[in-house]
């Protein structure tokens, strides 16, 4: 495990921002840190960045207790971000890279590579105030990853980007993972979670309420419902089902083409297919309905809120 948090508790004046939160993140994962606004994500991120210290609990990076030298191993793109408006882009990128412990020459060489990659080599002497928001975001992303951090913490990295640039950034994130970085992705954009996260943790009201591999979580939350498209008539289809099958949704496209969603109680998909075939129903297509991260997020958070 490259990252481990053990029983982190953070208290602010009469407010508990994090309550006994433990996490472990394997190397080269894209780890989604999810949760509603105000759940405690930013508090956790600030603790990892050593901006604040936890009141209880410990954090380990590659088995070592978190300490000031780890600042160099972490790259952080905060949600509320910005740069010096009146400073030249090249100069402030160099400055921020040096604050992370890079040498000037090294930072310059790396910057040149990134500027070439993003085809913005002529921006060096521009000021941030001369750039559009999206352009500034690009610079900010480069600054975050410039020192090749082992751990990359990205808070809403896609906000402010058009779809083309969002894709560009997404590809870069995956490339960085392939090159060895571990990425924390904090976002409300569940589509991007589905696309690039392999692990997630869900924090709600200061507590961790869910974590694990995305694929496993999805299986756990799947409702055993299948979408079946068929030819024939809907009444015949409904009559063919017995108690172990529950018709939860149906739709008719015309008199012969239909779709039905069937939930399996105590029966397998084969049982259902056998029954339908025996009843002469012409099956066109069968798909399992897999819950989206959106669904899981809402379900878990609502359930959790009711329990409290």
């Amino acid at each position: 495990m490259i990252f481990e948090a053990k029983n982190i508790t953070k208290l602010y004046h009469n407010h508990r921002a994090l309550n006994d939160v433990s996490l472990s993140v394997p190397e080269q994962a894209v780890f989604g840190l999810l949760g509603p606004n105000g759940a405690g994500k930013t508090s956790l991120i600030r603790i990892i960045n050593q901006i604040t210290a936890p009141d209880k609990g410990e954090i380990f990076i590659s088995g070592e207790k978190l300490q000031p030298k780890h600042i160099q191993d972490i790259g952080y793109l905060p949600e509320e971000r910005g740069l010096y408006k009146k400073m030249k882009i090249g100069e402030q990128a160099l400055y921020l890279a040096q604050l992370k412990g890079m040498s000037k020459q090294d930072a310059k060489a790396q910057l040149k590579l990134w500027f070439d990659k993003f085809e913005i080599g002529d921006w060096w002497n521009k000021k941030i105030e001369e750039l559009s928001k999206g352009m500034a975001q690009k610079i900010q992303f480069i600054i975050t990853v410039l020192h090749k951090p082992k751990i990359l913490i990205l808070d809403e990295p896609f906000s402010g980007f058009d779809p083309i640039n969002a894709n560009l950034i997404k590809d870069e994130i995956l490339k960085l993972r392939d090159e060895g970085s571990t990425i924390f992705l904090s976002t409300h954009n569940m589509k991007s979670v589905e696309e690039i996260c392999d692990h997630i943790a869900l924090i709600n009201k200061s507590n961790k309420v869910l974590d694990g591999k995305v694929s496993e979580i999805k299986t756990t939350f799947s409702k055993n419902i299948y979408d079946i498209s068929f030819e024939g008539n809907m009444i015949g289809f409904a009559n063919a089902l017995w108690t172990n099958f529950e018709l939860v949704d149906k739709e008719s496209f015309d008199s012969t083409n239909h779709r039905a969603s069937v939930k399996l109680n105590d029966a397998s998909l084969n049982d259902l297919l056998k029954t339908l075939i025996n009843n002469d129903i012409q099956i066109k297509d069968v798909t399992e309905i897999i819950p989206t991260m959106d669904d899981i997020f809402i379900e878990v958070v609502n359930q959790n809120n009711q329990n409290i």
Binding site: H13, I51, I74, Y76, G82, L83, Y84, L96, L99
Partner: protein, 455 residues
Amino acid sequence: MGVTRLIIGREYLTRVKKRTFIVMTILGPILFAGFFAAVILMSQQEKDKYTVGIFDATYTLSNRMPPMTGKIKWDPVNATSYNDALIKFKSDESFEKYDLLLYLPENIINTERSGGKIIYRKAPSISIEDKIKESVRLARESFIISKQYEGDSAKMKEFRSTYANIRSLNSFSLIDIDNIDEKGEAISKNVDHKVGAGVGMAFSFIIFFFIFFFGAQVMRGVIEEKTNRIIEVIISSVKPFQLMMGKIIGVALVGLTQFVIWGVFSTILINVLMAFIMPDYVEGDAVSQMSQEMMLQNANLSKFQNDIFNALWALPWVNIITSFIFFFLMGYLIYSALFAAIGSAVDNETDTQQFMTPVILPLMLAFYVVAFSAFKNPDSAAMYWLSLFPLTSPVVMLVRVAMGSAELWEVLLAMGLLIITFIGTVWIAAKVYRTGILMYGKKPSYKEIFKWLKY
């Protein structure tokens, strides 16, 4: 230390490269020198022609007074004694033509402290006064030399040609002439005292303005980083304390740079202007060759200037410079830490008012007390107590040190209090700062800021 140096470097360079800094650095000395020149020019507004009545108890010097084309006309008065001349100068119609009355006592030949006097109805300008004194001095010298060599023109010529001799003569030829008004009261020209107060005031105003302008720059810098939202990126790389101190030190260096440039440029400009405004003391070529040489020697060093230089020289400079550096640094550090804390607590500059007022108040108080009582009432209770109180001592103590009125233990006590205050202030400011920079939204109350101290 490495990152702090980086921060100091950025804070310094971005400010020094700004156009406003460059413009201010160039304009400052021009404005200052212009102001200085205007003051000099106004003080030079004087009568075209002065008639100076001379009551010469030696009966020799008045003939030897070097002629002054235009400005000054010498005229031996008709009086039986100095008192007679004085009474006539006050009331007699025949004396009304005299703007000034010059009294040369008998012993003026033999001694420098002779009690010679310039009596006036309306005080002459410094340059007129200087010209009169200079003329008396020259007349006296020319008399002494001619008497010494008893008309041996060859010897006299030889004497004049030797620079070293002129120098040696020079050294005993200063004479002392009091300025008194027509009532016969000497004008107290306590140069030493005034120069001390002036120097002290100059230093305390430098400290005051430095704290004010550059403290505010620290605050603006903090607000800028907060509203830019770059702050979170930076403090994920460095400690908030390093960022705060780096900013404070970087801005201090900017200020010092500006002051040094101003100092050098102003000095040069003022010297150039002076050369234009006050070209020469002697007009006309009827002055003897000897006198001309003497004049050239002394053109830059009139009696008044001499007094000032002597007074300046006599000031406790070691004390002044050491105290200046100490009080200057401590004052700036304490106030800029407070300004940084204020900047961190707010989202924009308009919200700073509420917090600025209590911080600026002691500073303004110190400034006014110094401005109004340094010359008139330097030993007042206000000066005394404010020179010890740590939030005002950086501005006030310097005046007392320069005037030599502060006891050593008082200075040490003020320094000790400043050090304690400095540690306390930076500790508090750092706590407020590291919480404040991450707080957005509504303006915090004092109560909330107090809570931050406990985080």
